[in-house]
Symmetry: C2
Subunit: 177 residues, 2 copies
DNA sequence: GCCATCTCTTGAATGGCATTCAAGGAGATC
DNA sequence: GATCTCCTTGAATGCCATTCAAGAGATGGC
């Protein structure tokens, strides 16, 4: 109701670009997806992208938002299991977007928008992990430290190839009381 | 003796380029150091770089080798202290080159040379860390897992700003028996 | 001493990139 | 029907890494 038809069209077109970017960024990588390629996939001219987004980083932020909210929705519907299994699920889920994880870290310095997104992501992730560790019985005075270690370890798991079994063992160690 | 004068000159010039790249890559970052800038700093034409190196990634590998061997020499001369302090020293030492750490991870896929260097680096680092954790009294059946967690956590510390105190606390937790 | 060969350096391209600019078209508004 | 705003685009701009072709200078063989 608050939206005019124009606003709706605009939002739809923006979403189409985000959808195309999502596929390309995840499958080909951010660096290897040029604005031209993205524009071609979205069926527009390269400079049209800039009508909807300030720059390429802002497209990435939109993709990250979409991926994050989807992943979070899945996580919240997860059957209740122990902390180690939930953690392992998170690792596997994040693996789909591991390229983006690496890209975000490499663009932290260059892009303020990415930096802000990254901080927000860490705040939320740490919050969830903190609760998991509490439930798992980690002593209160070590929760903060163990939370950070867990977050960093998960990021490490995404950046370095490893057998599924090893990942599971590491997840179990992370939530050890 | 095995070297002719020419080979020596060549090695010297190569080293000059590496020296210039070392400063630029560490202070300005790999991405923000164009071959042109590097060439200007080294006092040669841009394409001269390609006479000494296959590509920009190979320059990076040379810089990494130089930094690593220097850092390793320092580490080996470290006064004997407890594992947590040594770990904290490593974190601080690596912080000088934290940009490179991030760069290496972001270029793993794109460059086979970087990938190889990275694997070698992890093998060596894990080896050293493993010994530290053994000395610190970590149970044998958890050494491998804890080693990996420690490596990933150190990488995380480098990529995410944090107070020195928090870093020390994390280092202490990592070597906890 | 001379010529051929090899090393090294370079100016000038090539084809890419993200981003910007200026011009025009298509709808909505009046 | 005129005006105005939104949207799209072709064509630039100024980077980038890398390559090419030409030549300078030293080296080795005769």
């Amino acid at each position: 109701m608050a939206q005019t038809k124009r606003d709706q069209d605009r939002a739809e077109k923006r979403d189409e670009i985000i959808a195309a970017a999502r596929t390309l960024f995840i499958e080909a990588g951010y660096e290897d997806t040029s604005i031209s390629r993205l524009a071609a996939a979205a069926g527009v001219a390269p400079n049209t992208i800039y009508w909807y987004f300030k720059d390429k980083d802002e497209v990435l932020v939109a993709v990250l938002d979409a991926e994050f909210s989807e992943g979070m929705a899945e996580y919240l519907q997860l059957p209740v299991t122990d902390a180690a299994e939930r953690l392992y699920w998170v690792v596997q889920r994040l693996e789909r977007v591991s390229r983006l994880v690496s890209t975000v870290h490499s663009r932290l310095e260059a892009s303020e928008a990415i930096n802000l997104w990254h901080e927000r992501f860490h705040t939320i992730s740490e919050g969830i992990l903190r609760v998991s560790l509490q439930h798992a019985g980690v002593p209160a005075d070590r929760i903060e430290t163990r939370t950070k270690i867990s977050v960093f370890t998960i990021e490490g798991l995404l950046a370095h190839p490893m057998s599924e079994v090893d990942k599971q063992i590491i997840c179990r160690e992370l939530v050890r009381a």
